[in-house]
Symmetry: C2
Subunit: 366 residues, 2 copies
């Protein structure tokens, strides 16, 4: 069967004061639902995956403390499909845990690993790319298929994957090389080459393939995960997980799984995922997906602007008005208990601001 | 007896969103009380006058709709000392009504007319100036004594009064001339002359003098006010006032009382009021009386600023944090239901903004 796991463990602070430690980015109602309302990145990711995978084969992996919020955000998430990490142990362990639990209910499962921290549109092209990746996996069952996005500008903040030899499946190639965040000149070469794709951090593979890779390269992790699934699902398994998981070595799925596999020619594939892939990890970036006016003001909620230009203004508190006059190139975000105001150019300094807030009001606004 | 009436009828919008039609500037807790807390301009005006006049001779004249708020703000305001205008009819009628009611309880009353819309400090020098003005009135009982403030810069937004011949009371002169808002060059001459004082709009005179002036120059007003005080205090008088007051002609005290008197040489006097006289009628002006840091940031309430310069930031909602990073020369004012953000240079455009707000959310945030 085809399964998918949505990785939703992040706890970004760059969208403070909307995002908090207790309410991370993927659970915020940030994006238009196309129906006049808004929904979370997680709900959008779920809807996107559902175009390809049946609802009861969609899993969500998140931090234990977000369990209730995830269940509330995803009413269609099936019983037993919520994977709760007792604490963050990097992506190899999250992906490994998901693979172990999926394989426990379906040993032959084909598993898509997708993320919830970008806006990806349109859903039809996402679905087509994901189906193609599953097709490639049917053709080469032991392969690791990465989803690569055709670049639209010479980004220096993403990793790249290079298309190599063709496969029998159109739109899927063998991966010729990987490259972490390149410099500008290299990024421009990549953009011009037509062979290089942004590495989306999303994959399709058999659950068993991941578990075998961990057994080969991270035996302690593989044994720990085996202990977890050996326990009966429910309280007993949760107890073993709580004991085992925090001791697993922290390592990323790229180092633990992909890099060793890439040493075998033709083992790692890249499937084209021809979508708009929008980072919404900062207020200016999120501004680009909010409704905006002719003066470039992106806004949401109860907002009145007079003579404003290029502002991102959000009132996330029903009934609370944010009003500006003569404001230019600023971010204003109002929430029930905190309001952020900064120039767009300083929006990346929210972390620095949060440190000052924490020093002044410990434990209150993080 | 010496009495004082605090004129507190204003309904400024330039301090929106803190000031509202329902909660005008003089009732906001804007100024430091010198004891770690804040208090309203009205409470400060009451305390200031009390240094000279006994509490049960202090009257407050305000709009009917502010009655409860004024009583709450002034627990020491004596029974029967709250004068409520049924609707605004300009200053001659407000001053006339106060004079009629004061004269009704004390026909020989000496009456100081003071305002509540500036910060005036220190209280000792205010008290000294006011006592001097009362002394001048004792010396010349039919005079109209204006309180004049030595200018500290060539203001073009104030009226000026020129000192003429000396009186028997040191610090009090006959008024030689009045001048409304002068141009810059004239204001600079005035500042250099040492003879010109800012016209504070505060006066000391006998209540009877005002009533006589109205009888001479505005007989309809004088008759109307006589009808009011002819009715027994209480519901009956309130009913007559509600009927009479709205029909009185709108005219300022300057035109109705002072100008005619100034035609008689030596009738209008000017007493020096050597105080700091701070307009707090806009956010940048109010910023100058708020606590500020080395970078020129004025702030009040729960505020954290990183790398801010010359901002005025107010959180008027206990428990709500306003946080800024990299912000320069901006006004940010948070209240429970509305937040204002604008450059300092655009702070005078609040009225324009309020029109846009009223068009979008009629009757909600004014």
């Amino acid at each position: 069967m085809r399964h998918a796991v949505i990785m939703a463990g992040g706890s970004g602070t760059r969208l403070w004061p909307m995002s908090r430690t207790s309410r991370p980015k993927q659970l915020l109602d940030l994006v238009d639902d196309g129906d006049g309302g808004t929904r979370s990145l997680l709900a959008e990711a779920f809807a996107r995956v559902r175009a390809v995978v049946p609802a009861d084969c969609i899993w969500v992996c998140t931090a234990g403390r977000y369990a209730e919020q995830v269940r509330a955000a995803l009413p269609d998430l099936a019983e037993g499909r919520l994977i709760l990490e007792p604490e963050p142990r990097d992506t190899a362990n999250a992906v490994g845990l998901a693979a172990a639990l999926v394989a426990d209910v379906d040993p032959e499962a084909e598993l898509a690993v997708v993320s919830a921290d970008h806006v990806i549109r349109p859903v039809e092209r996402f679905a087509a790319g994901l189906r193609t990746a599953f097709d490639a996996l049917a053709e080469r069952p032991r392969s690791l298929v990465t989803l690569g996005i055709p670049p639209t500008y010479p980004a220096t903040g993403f990793g790249y994957v290079e298309r190599g030899g063709a496969t029998a499946v159109p739109g899927v190639a063998e991966a010729a090389s990987f490259r972490e965040k390149p410099d500008r000149a290299t990024a421009e070469q990549y953009l011009a080459s037509g062979r290089h794709l942004w590495n989306s951090g999303m994959f399709v593979w058999r659950a068993r393939t991941v578990l075998d890779a961990l057994a080969d390269h991270l035996p302690a992790t593989a044994e720990g995960l085996a202990r977890v699934v050996a326990a009966p699902a429910g309280a007993e398994r949760d107890a073993v997980l709580a004991e085992v998981f925090p001791r697993l070595p922290k390592i990323s799925v790229d180092y633990a799984v992909l890099e060793p596999a890439a040493a075998e020619p033709g083992r790692v594939l890249v499937a084209d995922l021809d979508v708009d892939w929008l980072d919404v990890g900062s207020w200016p970036a999120l501004g680009r997906v909010l409704p905006s006016d002719d003066a470039g003001n992106a806004q949401r909620g109860m907002v009145v602007q007079v003579d404003g230009e290029r502002n991102v203004v959000v009132s996330d508190d029903p009934g609370h008005l944010v009003a500006t006059v003569g404001l230019r190139d600023c971010v204003v975000v109002h929430t029930r208990d905190a309001t952020l105001v900064c120039p767009v150019a300083d929006a990346e300094r929210v972390k620095e601001l949060l440190e000052a807030v924490a020093a002044r009001y410990p434990g209150t606004f993080g």
